[in-house]
Amino acid sequence: MKDISTSIPKVDGLEKASGAAKYVSDIHFEGMLYAKTVRSPISHGKITKIHYPKLPSGYTIIDAKDIPGKNYVHMIFEDWKIFAEETVEYIGEPIALIVGEDKTVIEEIAMAIDMEFEELPAVFDDQLSVIDYHYVKGDPHQAFKTATQVIEKSYDTGYQEQAYIEPQGFVGYLENDTKVTVIGSIQCPYYVKNALKVALDCDDHDVRVIQAAVGGAFGGKEEFPSLIACQLAIAIKKVKKPVKLVYEREEDMLVTTKRHPSKTTMKAAINQAGEITAIQAHIGIDGGAYIGLSGVVLSRALINISGAYAIPALDVSGDVYKTHTVPNGAFRGFGAPQAIFAMEMFMHHVAKTLNKDPYSYRMNYLAKQGDLTSTSGTFRDPILMTEMIDKVKQASEYDRKVECYTKETSFKGIGMSYFLHGCGFTGSGESDHIKAKVKLRKDAQDQVHILIAAVDMGQGAKTTMMKLVSHTLKIPLNQVTFAAPDTDFVTDSGPTVASRTMMIVGGLLNEAALELKATWQAKQEQVVIKDYQQPDYIEWDQETFTGDAYPAYSWGVNIVEVSVHPITYQVNIEGIWSVYDVGKAIDERIVLGQADGGIAQGVAYGYLEVMQHQSGHLKQKNMTDYIIPTAVDMAPSENYLIDNPYALGPYGAKGVGELSLVGGAPAVAMAIEMAINREVRSIPMTPEKIMELMNDE
């Protein structure tokens, strides 16, 4: 039998290439109505009047008064409103839905709605901390007391928009007057279902969530879809007809969650020998108007602050700031890209400040097996970073280029980032909150059905899960079926997030397959269910942030080469090299695809993708204003994988999805720093910012 990493064609490739795959906007029901959202035009204020025009027959308005259950999107906190009630907290906050048959009539109704507000002061900076965390490793106090030198720098990162090519949306219908079914572009069928139960105040069997083909997500379809689903379900209950709500690009860009802008200050205690003895860090992230997942994003950022390094002592704190802007949320990397950017640049800048060679200086601090993690847990598994660094250094001719480009202001540069990504939920999240359950069913024809809530949003989960099960059962691939999740049939295996799908859900599925194999009875219906059990070694204290924050870590090294135009300061990507340790690839080509796409997003985050707001108005609202890379912007990349099987992952697999994004920005930022010979502490490093740095002298 072939090694499991050997690639197979994706099972849904042809369906997608031929245009046959059905995304939400391709789904139509007889008698279906359309919906449009009425939104707040101001950043902060009291709603003093809403007057709806007289509606033509067949048109309905749905607002907070129509919510059968509670007016919040069930997540972690009860703060994010389904429809604004007394106040509005950001421009674009939903106030009502208009539902009807003809989109033009809906538009006219929208125009005729009369709303008045009493404006309240809006906050756009870091004065309203709504969450703060703090943790300590070792004795940073002592280290700073005895330091011979303290180096301090600050770093900032901007918004990043997921820019999936398929905007968000749902379509849904009512059955027997009671049961609402919604079909959506989603990552987390059970997040949506649980939110619907709270909003509709209904029983488990009165809501059903089905995943349509998902045209990209990247975290953007983690928590936000629950909001649209709640609004739509409330509307469907009221109008008792199928309704579709698909955002146009502009609406999607203006009102959906984005990567949190951040500001980080880093302080290093340096001893006589020029070594770092402790780091003190503070990360502030802009949460937007509602907390949503921001606290969880902040905790991942804080835990990631020492990156791929083992620093003896840390004092780490952070805040989520409330601002009157669109709420920020999940985006591939989930707080890690901001922290890794700050830490990689800081290590580089500390070395330079001390007149040491940055590359060997940083190498000295790379974590080794047995070292303590940032939260005083243990790196239990082998770490192959030295080997990985060698691999990409050689492939990119790194040393020669560094020598060549640092000689003068060559306007060429090459940068290298080291990083890791903790796989799965932070701490005891998997066992305390998620409690994944997977199900395998073999029917009487011996066809094996995978019944899990994991979503294929392009990352290839459908192919890799089917491959995993067929490989373990030693049956042909076509004897395995994996339909898009439908909560009426699949168990809650948790959300498709946090690089957990293969390691955690795949791991459980593999156990289920092994049990099915051991008990296989031909032509008999059989069902195997497996529940998540936390590895015994995990100990985590959520209060103090101590212990093993993650069961396992994936590792990576990125090298990016750039040239900067000496007059326009336009950055051109000349080459990309990367290497990853994801344990074991369940399908090599699929993992390399994740590598290629992730690094493109990470690099673009570092130099290209600009989103800003002015008093709460986002300035970039479509694909013309918000620039993502085209085929011409990206250079050919060489990506490598190395095997380092993780004992508890299926066939040794760890997490993949997010890892490939987190190292892109620091690598490109370091390359630009070399090219222009100026310290880079802010991303995206646009031509305007480069010009400022060049003029600063």
Binding site: S7, P9, K10, D12, G13, L14, E15, K16, A17, S18, G19, A20, A21, K22, Y23, S25, D26, H28, Q162, A163, Y164, I165, E166, P167, A213, V214, G215, G216, A217, F218, E248, R249, M457, G458, Q459, G460, R589, I590, L592, G593, D596, G597, G598, I599, A600, Q601, N622, M623, T624, I628, P629, T630, A631, V632, M634, P636, S637
Partner: protein, 157 residues
């Protein structure tokens, strides 16, 4: 209202409609051709790409009146061709399909490119596909797929 006459996927069409409607809406709503996708609605993403007299156009920016007398091929009909088979084999082999929302447009763009330039070099491919956005792949696998298709489908274009 004047009738709009054009060929759609090899069939003659006569249509009485507002000529300023977007071709994309006509295709998707009137003919249930949902292969062309709306990613941006403003000519940036190429997801709505169709072949107009053999060349890719963004159907979201095209008033249906302007296709009068011309030939429109969508991915639904193109997927019945030998060129499509070669292209999809190459897309699959190179791992060029992730979420797939850009893929019909990418295939149409590749066809449009190869029809003009059957042996494009890497840069020509990148330029040829630069009207089509893909957020998943980082493009390298798509570029390689077009190279592979050009080689394996020699003579087809």
């Amino acid at each position: 209202m004047n009738k709009i006459r054009f060929t759609l996927n090899h069939q003659s069409i006569e249509l009485e409609t507002n000529p300023s409607r977007r071709l994309l809406d006509v295709l998707r709503n009137d003919y249930q051709l949902t292969g062309p996708k709306e990613g941006c609605g403003e000519g940036e993403c190429g997801g709505c790409g169709v072949l107009l007299d053999g060349h890719i156009v963004n159907s979201c920016c095209l008033p249906v009146g302007s296709v009068h007398g011309r030939e429109v091929i969508t991915i639904e009909a193109f997927s019945k061709t030998e060129q499509f088979n070669v292209l999809t084999e190459a897309f699959s082999y190179e791992g060029a399909v992730q979420c797939g929302i850009c893929t019909p447009g990418m295939i149409i763009a590749s066809q449009s490119l190869l029809a003009k330039n059957p042996q494009p070099n890497e840069m020509e491919i990148r330029i040829g596909l630069s009207g089509n956005l893909c957020r998943c792949t980082g493009y390298n696998m798509i570029v390689k797929a077009v190279q592979r298709a050009a080689k394996r489908g020699e003579g087809l274009w």
